[in-house]
Symmetry: C2
Subunit: 195 residues, 2 copies
């Protein structure tokens, strides 16, 4: 009986992230993904149902990771709610700094799977956002955060700001230091622009 050599599923996923990032979802050819992953074209279909399935798995993995890392923060009551939100922002920036291609896919291709609403992806995404909401609610309860702010709006506000800033960083990494972006985001979320 032949036995699996290496971890092709992982290789394909990583290859796909890079090819999606460079060519965009539709510009990416399965044959190219296979080439980058160091496997045959047909092997891609051994491990994944189809092209969309690859993208789905990428996002599932991403949001699972983000959710679980955030979860480990949520317990720690040492942190105040605003510290938790800071940590959440750090978390996102850490993940994407270490994997710019993934950042690109995150920024540009998520809507493909939102169109065909697959719960696999949605699950961890919603959970992640749910935790974010939770932190905000704690902040409101402790009267650190303004109660007039809609929690659902705020979570998308922060996520959107980060998403767009990652994109501008990807387009022009020299002008934007990711560290400076991170600091500014934290500041702006907390205090806004006005003196």
């Amino acid at each position: 009986m032949r036995v699996k050599e290496g971890n092709k599923e992982k290789d394909i996923l990583e290859g796909a992230i890079n090819v999606f990032a460079k060519e965009g979802y539709h510009g990416a050819k399965i044959s190219k993904i296979a080439e980058v992953a160091g496997v045959a074209t047909g092997s891609v279909y051994v491990y994944f149902e189809n092209k969309e399935d690859i993208l789905l798995k990428i996002f599932e993995q991403l949001w699972k990771q983000l959710y679980e890392e955030l979860l480990s923060l949520s317990d720690k009551s040492i942190f105040s709610p605003t510290e938790k939100i800071d940590a959440m922002i750090d978390l996102a920036f850490d993940v994407f700094t270490s994997n710019p291609a993934l950042a690109d896919v995150f920024v540009n291709e998520q809507h493909h799977i939102q169109r065909s609403n697959k719960t696999q992806f949605t699950n961890y995404y919603e959970k992640f956002l749910g935790l974010g909401e939770e932190f905000i609610r704690q902040g409101i309860q402790k009267k650190i955060i303004h109660g007039s702010i809609d929690v659902k709006i705020l979570r998308y506000f922060i996520l959107g700001a980060i998403r767009n800033l990652l994109q501008s960083w990807l387009n022009d990494p020299k002008t934007f230091s990711l560290n400076k972006i991170r600091q500014n985001v934290k500041y702006l979320v907390k205090y806004g622009i006005q003196k």
Copy 2:
């Protein structure tokens, strides 16, 4: 000599916005765009070079409009810098409220043309962002806005927040009232979350 009937260029552009919004850029068929626009498939290629050119023109038009409307605000020294930024946010929300399909295309498809960097689009987009920057600088000069904030970062911060909130509104218009989103965005930009 045959004479032009109606305004097919405009019809095609409007049709394309709706089809792109519903099917996504790659899912949108030229034949479908033609059908919705009430013209023959071939006519599309009389008015546009190719599919990408249609998308390009959509964004060119959008950013031109946004830029010009913002420009008319920039002179008015009656407004304070923060009022100008408020007006900028209002402007974006007004345009997209009146044309949700355009909002969808704006949110999801801009990266297609950013990949193949066309200056036509970039021109007005950059000009628009440049004006936003200008307002922020005025605010810093008048010591209304914190000087430690990076202007380039701030402009993408605001734009990104709006973009993502528009997307969540499109996905679930019942949960999110665009008016509430608008108010929250204005508040958050100015004061942040912290009491």
